[in-house]
């Protein structure tokens, strides 16, 4: 194969990896917006808490002498999802539910407050230095001509794709097939009417926070393992990127969040491939501005009436 083709292929692989984790985090933004029309700015922090939980679990299990890698990873994933979902639920219960029905700006401000609180709480509890984890999964597959350009896919990248695919499929099935999923869709269409029809909307709203937090925790575990270091500030940039992905795909739309995440990741990787890599954020956010100028509702978003 041609050298440039292989190189672009490698960058696409890198971009899809990072993009699928953006997509996982973006779901949380888009589902919450779809139902109550607010941006949960503390969502990036929930992702960060998921990563910390996974780290602590993994280090704890390794020190206790649990050597089996699948067990360690599975337990890390489960604890991260449980703890992060608890935080997601608690944030909604404490900071957003008491303010429901008030002016829309108020929950936005408490969201920012919550984000600052959680970031500093982890910083105080865990220290502000980078925590590093030993490499658990290394190696991968390589193809292409070594004399021209060798494309490498690490096992970790394959795991990220696999887990993302499973999580997304599960979400899609849940939303389209289950009773609760139908209630979620009903809430997104008309919250007041759904309430009048006898569905406990507070419960459904809490559920969307929990689902969003769980997916963010999955992304946190994957990215924590992929990069190997975490600090209390990673939630900010990850949250911003995922929010961008959600807006890009059309905020409120779940397929939109998935598509937006992948487009953002690939754009970043291709920018870094052909321009100095310091410009990748510039290009990613310029793309957002351009899309919003020409398609204010995002790629898959529907023009919508103002929500209350």
């Amino acid at each position: 194969m041609h050298e440039t083709t292989l190189y672009v292929l490698q960058q696409l692989i890198n971009g899809l990896t990072i993009g699928s984790t953006y997509a996982l985090i973006a779901i949380g933004y888009t589902m919450v917006y779809g139902i109550i029309g607010m941006i949960n700015f503390a969502h990036g922090e929930v992702y960060m808490i998921g990563t910390y939980t996974a780290f602590i679990t993994i280090i704890g299990l390794l020190t206790m002498g649990v050597g089996s890698l699948p067990i360690v990873l599975l337990l890390a994933l489960i604890t991260a999802v449980i703890i992060a979902s608890t935080y997601g639920y608690a944030v909604e219960r404490v900071a957003y539910r008491p303010l429901r029905g008030g002016p829309r700006l108020i929950p936005l401000i408490t969201a920012i407050g919550m984000s600052i609180f959680l970031q500093n709480y982890i910083r105080l509890a865990q220290g502000s230095r980078d925590l590093a984890m030993p490499v658990l999964i290394s190696g991968g597959i390589e193809f292409g001509d070594p004399a021209v350009f060798e494309v490498s896919i690490s096992w970790m990248q394959l795991i990220i794709w696999g887990v993302t695919l499973v999580a997304m499929t599960a979400l899609a099935l849940f939303i389209s097939r289950s009773r609760l999923g139908r209630a979620c869709r009903a809430c997104a269409q008309d919250l007041k009417m759904t309430n009048l029809l006898g569905i406990d909307t507070n419960r459904i709203i809490a559920l969307t926070f929990i689902i969003g937090a769980a997916l963010a925790a999955v992304a946190g575990v994957l990215l924590g393992l992929y990069y190997g270091t975490i600090n209390p500030y990673i939630g900010f940039m990850a949250g911003l990127k995922a929010f961008t992905a959600a807006v890009l795909g059309g905020i409120g739309s779940i397929p939109g969040a998935m598509l937006g995440g992948l487009i953002l990741g690939v754009t970043e990787a291709l920018t870094a491939a052909f321009f100095p890599s310091e410009y990748k954020d510039v290009v990613a956010f310029s793309l957002l501005v351009l899309i919003l100028l020409f398609r204010p509702t995002g790629l898959l978003g529907k023009p919508e009436v103002e929500k209350v």
């Binding site: 990072i18 980078d130 490499v135 990069y227 190997g228 491939a273 890599s277």
Partner: protein, 371 residues
């Protein structure tokens, strides 16, 4: 140049003050100025134990020209405003020889006062190039400048590594980009053009795109200007992607966290860092003396502070004077045998020898010195 009359009057005033205070003329008081309190007090402590050890040992050996040295500690808390107040107090206390200050931001305003009032100052810790740029007469330092690391690294790469395909990466910050630019330019002059020169975003976690690009350019040597969190991740992800070029970085990457982040991938990374003077066999007796006092000699400023006292007293001994101007011209004209090796001072008051060395870092956190 200072008018002679002003100088003579100040000397006279000083003499009068000394007599009136009843201070014995055979004591030479040396100010040791740096942070005793505040967030960087531990660095101030390094300077203090180095200077005090030198003073005690010189006194034990009979002092200087019949005078006993006395170290007087001043606390600037690494705060530029307090440093100015301390400098004024030192002048009022009629001290004419100062070791300090520690933080570059404190040293800069304080040195203006010392220069104007005829006080000699030797800093053992401030590395900002700006301090000696103003062409002071009485300001010296016994520590190398950060910027010297770039030329040392370039010389090492040119003589020992001789890469075929060089890449220079930096983190776009003053420290990292400055060093990276120096290395790139010096190597270009020596005939090795970098095939890649680009920045990364500090705090970024994903370097897979950058690594793919390095791989595509067949890079065999990377100089990284920046700090350890980014380099650690670049090393770790390079290992994962099968990119196996050699890496080199500045002092900012030499940190025990680098090993934690990069794991085995950091084995063999090159770095420039301040020489560990406590490892030198010539200083073994001195290291024992520190340990006997339950003090840690491994801090980067301990030996430069010791050396500052050493060169000052050697100059006093040789010239038979304590006048800062006489000492300053002697410091510039002579070479000294000190605990940080044989050194000399240039016209600006900087060391003529770099106090940095190239090290090979190991995955277990240790490092070996290379020449």
């Amino acid at each position: 140049m200072k008018p002679t009359i002003g100088l003579c009057c100040k000397t006279w005033l000083a003499a009068a003050l000394l007599t009136s205070l009843g201070v014995q003329a055979d004591t030479l008081r040396i100010g040791v100025a740096g942070p005793v309190t505040g967030p960087v007090a531990q660095y101030g402590d390094m300077q203090k134990i180095g200077a005090m050890m030198a003073i005690d040992r010189i006194n034990a050996a009979g002092g200087v020209n019949g005078m006993t040295l006395e170290g007087v500690i001043y606390d600037d808390a690494c705060d530029p405003k307090q440093a100015v107040a301390v400098a004024n107090r030192i002048v009022n206390d009629d001290i004419r020889h100062v070791i300090g200050h520690l933080c570059s931001s404190s040293t800069e305003p304080a040195s203006d006062i010392y220069e104007e009032e005829g006080v000699m100052m030797i800093t053992a810790a401030s590395t900002s190039p700006g301090i000696t740029e103003k062409g002071y007469e009485l300001i010296f330092r016994t520590i190398g400048l950060d910027s010297l690391q770039g030329s040392l690294a370039a010389a090492y790469i040119r003589d020992h590594v001789q890469p075929q395909r060089l890449a220079v990466i930096h983190d776009k910050q003053q420290y990292g980009e400055g060093l990276a630019t120096t290395v790139r330019d010096l190597l270009a002059q020596a005939g090795t053009e970098a095939v890649m020169f680009e920045g990364v975003t500090p705090g970024d976690k994903d370097f897979s795109a950058l690594i793919a690009k390095l791989k595509r350019n067949n890079v065999d040597f990377v100089y990284y200007g920046g700090y350890h969190p980014e380099l650690g991740l670049i090393l770790r992800q390079s290992r994962e992607k099968g990119f196996d070029a050699a890496f080199m970085g500045p002092e900012g990457v030499v940190n025990s966290d680098l090993a934690a982040i990069a794991g085995d991938a950091m084995e063999g990374v090159l770095a420039t860092a301040p020489k560990s003077f406590d490892q030198s066999p010539d200083n073994a007796a001195l290291v024992d003396a520190f340990k006997a006092r339950d003090e840690d000699p491994s801090g980067p400023f301990v030996f430069p502070a010791y050396t500052a006292i050493q060169v000052m007293t050697q100059a006093i001994e040789a010239t038979g004077e304590t006048d800062p101007y006489a000492l300053a011209s002697y410091l510039r004209s002579t070479r000294f045998e000190t605990t940080i090796g044989e050194i000399g001072f240039d016209a600006k008051g900087d060391l003529t020898e770099p106090t940095f060395q190239v090290y090979r870092l190991h995955a277990d956190g240790s490092k070996t010195a290379l020449d």
